[in-house]
């Protein structure tokens, strides 16, 4: 029991630190990647390749003047970004980073916790995340903030429906389990879910872009119309919390996509590979290699997010709503119908 508790405590701190580190370095990579796409050099002054840039940015965020507007509701004003950051960490809890390994006779999982309604939990937490934005926007007592918050929340709510339906289709293909870990394990033996759910993945991907408020769906903070959107009135570390939360959200949703559709820590011929280099089942090295593979997949997804951001222009607001309600939701329903028909008549996993 003590081994278990100590292990979980270490893992907890580790995942927290990794999420923070990845979010910090995502800002660096965002700038570097944008520079590469635009034939520029990007940050290259702070340290080699500008690698200390996130530290400098973070230091700047702490040192700036903390402004709380007189007319704002102070409690809610502080609660908004705190809630947003807190909830973005919460979604990361469920991600299984690698296979179980045995240490001193204890079977330990490279995952904080696995609950049997994992996907529902993720959908739930991401939909609460909109509260952070809407509370922040409302408490600022500023027209632009409020408009940004309203935009963000209506966007997140509309895209959540299509996302949920595409996840239902995924759950049906994966054999009816809602547990994140079991969905990953079904991809261990067979093909990755992307082979069964290409349309579902596309819908999920678009919805993930919209959920994380990334371009081309970043209407919540489009500076040409709304100054800064819901964080117009925020400064110093409260602004930093919003930005950090966004990058953590991006990291987590990339990890979720890499896990649900691309097999997470599994990779083709994994068993043969482990056997070839002489690792036995339950070895900690297998978990570590798996975690590495998972992180690489996540990194690729983060890069694709950025690639899209620096390619596509922003949607107009009515186009965004049209796409959400009139294209993605019918499309995801179609995807669900096709999935069910395929499961019944071709794969025969559902008995009528």
């Amino acid at each position: 029991m003590t081994v278990f508790l100590i292990y979980k405590a270490i893992l907890c701190v580790l995942i927290f630190a990794v999420s923070l580190g990845v979010a910090a370095y995502a800002t660096w990579w965002e700038r570097k990647f944008a520079a590469l796409l635009q034939d520029r050099k990007g940050p290259n002054r702070a340290g080699p390749l500008g690698l200390f840039q996130p530290l400098a940015d973070g230091g700047k965020m702490f040192m700036k003047e903390e402004i709380i507007p007189n007319v704002s509701n102070k409690f809610l004003f502080i609660l908004g970004p705190s809630l947003f950051l807190f909830l973005s960490f919460l979604t990361g809890v469920l991600i299984p980073w690698g296979k179980d390994f045995t240490y001193d006779g204890h079977a330990l999982a490279l995952q904080l916790t696995d609950i049997n309604v994992g996907l529902l939990y993720i959908l739930g937490v991401t939909s609460i995340a909109v509260y952070g934005i809407i509370i922040g926007g409302w408490a600022s007592n500023n027209k632009y903030s409020l408009l940004g918050a309203v935009r963000a929340s209506s966007q997140m709510i509309s895209y959540e429906i299509a996302m949920g339906i595409s996840i239902i289709a995924l759950v049906i293909t994966a054999g009816g389990t809602l547990s994140f870990r079991e969905i990953l394990d079904t991809q261990d033996a067979g093909l990755a879910n992307i082979c069964y759910q290409p349309l579902g993945f596309l819908i999920f991907f678009i919805c993930a872009l919209a959920e994380t408020n990334r371009a081309p769906f970043d209407l919540a903070e489009c500076e040409t119309e709304l100054v800064g959107g819901y964080h117009t009135e925020y400064s110093a570390f409260k602004l930093g919390a919003f930005m950090f939360g966004e990058y953590i959200n991006m990291f987590v949703s990339s990890a979720i996509m890499a896990g649900l559709y691309f097999g997470g820590y599994n990779f083709p011929f994994a068993k043969e590979f482990y056997h070839m280099i002489g690792l036995e089942d339950g070895s900690a090295w297998i978990s570590l290699i798996g975690a590495g593979v998972y992180l690489i997949k996540t990194f690729i997804f983060i890069s694709v997010f950025m690639w899209i951001r620096w390619t596509l222009p922003r949607f107009r607001y009515d186009q965004l709503m049209n796409l959400g309600w009139r294209v993605l939701i019918p499309l995801s329903l179609l995807n669900l119908a096709i999935t069910v028909l395929v499961e019944i008549f071709i794969r025969g996993t559902i008995q009528l």
């Binding site: 520079a35 796409l37 034939d39 290259n44 596509l312």
Partner: protein
């Protein structure tokens, strides 16, 4: 009348299915940005790298000393007259006994100032100088925080003995020959039979 050949017929034709779902267009755009990943950035990391400049580049001026270290300038004012931007001012003074090592001739410039904000780096001062004293070099003028700091006095213009500046690139035989031309003003004022750069007795 046709002004350009870039006229296009505009039509209101329906979008095709490929255009309506936008995905092909999006992928095309992403391919374009991705192709830029592998292109070289044209950026020059300025303080570490500089652009290559011509050997006869006209940059910050230098007031040369002669081989013994005496200032060549005699404050004749030819450069100030020649300057189209009126950037050069000077005050002359008479050399005292014991200063022979400092100034080559009896008269010298006590104050010599160039306003670097006015200067257009045309090089006419260098062309006008009968004493081979002022030259433009390949150095860039530094940035400053105050306007007044751009007025460079002798402290910045006169060549330091420890770091002599090579201007031989600008003193080709053709240039020296050109300076002897009778049409040039300084040749009319001064005795043109004397060799240039040799110093002149009053």
């Amino acid at each position: 009348m046709q002004l350009t050949n870039r006229r296009k017929e505009v039509s209101h034709k329906e979008q095709s299915i490929a255009e309506k779902i936008y995905l092909p267009a999006i992928l095309k755009g992403m391919a374009i940005t991705a192709s830029h990943l592998f292109k070289k950035s044209p950026t020059i990391n300025y303080p570490e790298e500089t652009r290559p400049i011509a050997p006869v580049y006209r940059g910050q001026h230098v007031l040369k000393r002669d081989d013994n270290g005496a200032e060549r300038c005699t404050a004749c004012g030819m450069c100030a007259v020649a300057c189209p931007a009126e950037a050069i001012t000077m005050e002359s003074a008479e050399r005292k006994k014991g200063e022979e090592a400092l100034y080559r001739e009896e008269k010298y410039a006590a104050v010599y100032e160039i306003n670097m904000l006015r200067c257009i780096f045309c090089g006419l001062c260098e062309e006008a100088c009968p004493k081979e004293a002022i030259f433009l070099t390949d150095r860039l003028v530094d940035t400053e925080f105050e306007r007044g700091d751009f007025i460079y006095g002798k402290d910045k213009l006169v060549e330091k003995m420890t770091e002599r500046i090579d201007v031989s690139k600008r003193q080709t035989p053709e240039v020296l020959e050109f300076k002897k031309k009778p049409g040039l003003k300084h040749n009319e004022l001064f005795d043109s039979s004397k060799q240039l750069g040799k110093g002149k007795k009053h």
